[in-house]
Amino acid sequence: MLRFALRELTRRKSRSLLAIFGIVVCTALLSSVLCLAQAMRNAARQPFDAANADFVAQRELAECPFALVKHAGTLGGIPTKTIARIRSLKEVEVAAGVLELWAVSGRDEKDRTVVTGIEPEYQKQIGPLMQSGKCCTLTDHQRGGRYLGFADTQSCLLEKPYADRHGLHLGDKVSLGGTHFRVVGTVQASPGARIAAGEVYIPLKEAQNLLGEGDVVNAVFIRAANPESAATVETRLKELIRADTRRGDKLVITSDLNVMSSVAGTTILAESAIRWVAGAVALVVLLLLIKFSLSSVNERLREIGTMKAVGWQDRHIAKLLALEWVLMGAVGGLVGTLLGVGAAWAYTAGTRLRLPALLNNYPACAKTPPPVDLKFSLEGSEPLIVGAFLVALSMGAVAGHFAARRAANLSPAEALRRL
């Protein structure tokens, strides 16, 4: 039977190819859209996964004047008492504030260092020093390098590229806005975007002293107690932060769900549009395939009549036709998913998306390349690929079902009369 089906398909080459082409287009479209969406989701999740956080809450100011030490970028302060309130929410598992600064560190006022003040007691749970659930690696651990201690003063932790560029080692001093900090360790993170990653990390208290604005932070990392409570957390956050900050400031709460809209707003829009388009195309192609399969039965009336005359039962005929269409679905699905996944892969390989400036505030003149590139990956799209292939198979099966039903219902004598 399989051999018969294959022969039939290869004989009516242009017919089969046309049907397969339709299935290929659908499946390619579907699988590329699904894989792209997955890659986008992965990219959006990556910096949050890295920081072990679900949300980052920030205030954005219209502009920041120049100073020896200033809030990084256009960030504004959030009082530390707000963090305490956030921590006390039952839906929140952990929250930590950071104060991102730009501090002039040399003679040239353009020589600014990105400094992140961190709460040492949280550095191993959440925030810029985290790397997929663990702390970044200490590169000078052997020589006594360490993370910031709770009681440390005038101490700092360096990022490896910064330390290398400035030739800084354990025990060396770094000048930040005129104050000196002793290097207690150097960390190295794996590539990929990181939120509020600085070049130099100092204890939050000292960062607040440097800035001189009192007890403020300018980014709060928050992890919800469980995924279901994430939505509630977000609304509660807005209420809390709004209550504790001046009116008129722009409050920004970023999560993996909305980060993409600020990075690539159009892509997200286009993605859902393309999804609809892919669905519509699939539907149209399916209808065409059904029409096509029915008309191909008409073309083969005589053949079908002959098979019935020599003893094939209706279900035998149905099986042959279904087999033909499922084969076409399988071939079309295979080629289509390969093309679709290939296209998605090529697109992500050639596209560079960066974290929004608010989440990683590097000065324009930064000399160390900031960790802002979102990492695309097709990880987790296996079920989508299988799904797209199954869609192709079922398109074939549906078209085949109609052809089979039509052929089975034919009266053999009738079929044989047609030439």
Binding site: E303, G311, P412
Partner: protein, 227 residues
Amino acid sequence: MDIHAELNQVTRTYIKHGVPLHALHGVDLSIGRGDWVLVVGDSGSGKSTLLNLLGGLDRPTEGEVRFDGINLTSLTSDDLARFRYEKVGFVFQSFSLISSLTALENVTIPLVPYKMDRVAMEEKAGAVLEQMGMIDRATHLPGELSGGEQQRVAIARSLINEPKLLLADEPTGELDSRTGEKILDLIASLHRDRGVTTIMTSHDPKIAERAHTVVQLEEGRVVDVQQ
């Protein structure tokens, strides 16, 4: 007479544009085992309809068709298909070969859905093709064969399951007269050697002399039966 197949008061009516058309009208006919029957009549007189009813390809509107005492009218369509598979060999005017399959594969078609081993199937088909003198053309596609050769392949296909009843609907209709003669000789020898009950139609009364019985149809009625 040992009755092999019979039609009792068979009417087959088609509704055409709301008007009933009796392709067969009250036909009574008995065919003896091992008979060679020729059905003659003008085009449209109901010959094909008669053959289709006898072979279980079609059902009568009224009356009954019996084969070996079985009332075909009472069978389900699956049982009818099985009946055709086991008992009947059909040969058509237009050969009805499947153009994507080789001669040998065409001969195996009846066996394919009944799950026979492929080697066994092809051995069997090869044997019948051999008898039809077509074994050297086994791997040819129908398009590469002449009309007479295609008809031989079609006859081989009808014989593969050793039918009890051979139904040939104008088997020479698309062949030139010399080739047609040869095909008729072949059918005659099959009938003689195997004792298969053979029913053939033709609109050419000249063939009549070969048959035991000649049934004359006119507008769906049997007007004459000659032994």
